[in-house]
């Protein structure tokens, strides 16, 4: 998942969900590195999107309060970060 600075929120969410599902699949295949890479991609994509959230036309069309989206994505990002950190710490 490329995390360019011009992805709209719906695209970000759709692809993040796909990455997260792939991550589960890689974990189940015992390919932890690949699984964590998928999670890392989502974190990076969220970071990239948060930098330009105020320029996303979809938020104004909806309209969804940007603060609500920012809080939600930040929380998800934090949860995923915790998962990555836990597995990094457990790595041999």
């Amino acid at each position: 998942m490329k995390h360019t600075a011009d992805v709209d929120l719906l695209s970000l969410i759709g692809r993040a969900i796909e990455e997260l599902r792939l991550s589960i699949g890689r974990f189940e295949d015992a390919d932890r590195e690949a699984a964590l890479a998928h999670l890392g991609t989502v974190v990076a994509a969220i970071d990239s999107y948060l930098e330009r959230l105020d320029r996303d036309p979809l938020l104004r069309l909806a309209p969804i309060p940007p603060s609500e989206v920012r809080d939600g994505l930040t929380r998800i990002r934090g949860d995923l970060d915790e998962v990555i950190a836990a597995h990094d710490a457990a790595a041999p």
Binding site: A16, L61, A90
Partner: protein
């Protein structure tokens, strides 16, 4: 009155004896086995009145009594799964403690501002849903084994999950116990389930929780796009782009959404990698 009291005491003593006797048989029964399931059912049926009486004490919480009973029932399951005869604690005492804990946990989840980790919320939601579905289908609450089957967990894993929920209650709201341990750490399921797994349960639950949150956000946005909001021209003016560009961005986003919803389960797709995004026009 004294006669009635004595009769009540005798009844209570008989029930205690039968509880402990059944639990002794349960601890000796092979797992899994029909004998074990049958014993669990008998113990649960014998003590469901205890759940109802404890739930009634929390009526002032404002939560529906049926919901409190359901929460308490989880505590009873937990008690049956984890009761240790060797500790010389009466089962009713132990079960009361866990039933109260579950009910308080339920009320806290409904009212508290304390942030409960997403994986715990996800786990609670799934247990509750599985319990409700089973009850609707069979007209009675599930045994631990049946609940485990519904959640695709073995009995040991489910028992560990229920212990984890109890521990979380301890961390979050049990002030009396907190005085003896002022800074307890919430347990992770990896600590509770020490066996090595390619995908530890708490990792799975955390990722699933993230997916659920994203899906909820997605739904919120789509509803907003169709039912309220500014015009494309207004948005274009605000952002310094044309109405046509706004329209394209919206259309493409909805196409992406449709593709996502129509996509196959990733487990069916082997090594397929996600698509690269296209550029945007704004």
């Amino acid at each position: 009155m004294r006669g009635e009291g004595s009769a009540q005491s005798r009844r209570t003593a008989r029930q205690e004896l039968e509880n402990e006797t059944l639990l002794a048989r349960l601890s000796a029964a092979p797992s899994p086995s029909k004998q074990r399931s049958s014993l669990e059912e008998r113990i649960i049926a014998r003590n469901i009145g205890l759940v109802k009486s404890i739930a009634a004490r929390f009526a002032s919480s404002g939560e529906p009594l049926d919901d409190l009973i359901q929460a308490g029932y989880i505590g009873l399951l937990n008690a049956v799964a984890n009761y240790d005869l060797a500790r010389n604690t009466r089962f009713s005492t132990y079960a009361t403690h866990l039933i109260q804990g579950e009910i308080r946990h339920y009320i806290r989840d409904r009212h508290s501002t304390i942030r409960v980790p997403q994986w715990v919320q996800t786990m609670n939601r799934r247990i509750k849903l599985a319990e409700e579905n089973f009850f609707q289908e069979h007209g009675q609450p599930p045994t631990l084994r049946e609940l485990g089957q519904a959640l695709e967990l073995n009995e040991a894993q489910l028992a560990a999950l229920l212990r984890g929920r109890d521990a979380m209650t301890y961390v979050s709201i049990d002030k009396e116990r907190r005085t003896s341990d002022p800074n307890p750490s919430p347990p992770s399921l990896e600590e509770i389930l020490p066996e090595s797994q390619a995908l530890p349960l708490d990792t799975r639950l955390r990722i699933v929780a993230a997916i659920e949150q994203l899906a909820a956000m997605q739904q919120h946005i789509v509803q907003g796009l169709f039912y309220q909001g500014k015009s494309q021209s207004e948005v274009g003016e605000e952002l310094g782009i044309s109405q046509r560009q706004v329209s394209r961005i919206k259309d493409r986003a909805l196409d992406e959404l449709r593709n996502t919803l129509l996509s196959l389960d990733p487990s069916d797709r082997g090594q397929e990698e996600p698509k690269e995004p296209e550029g945007t026009e704004n």
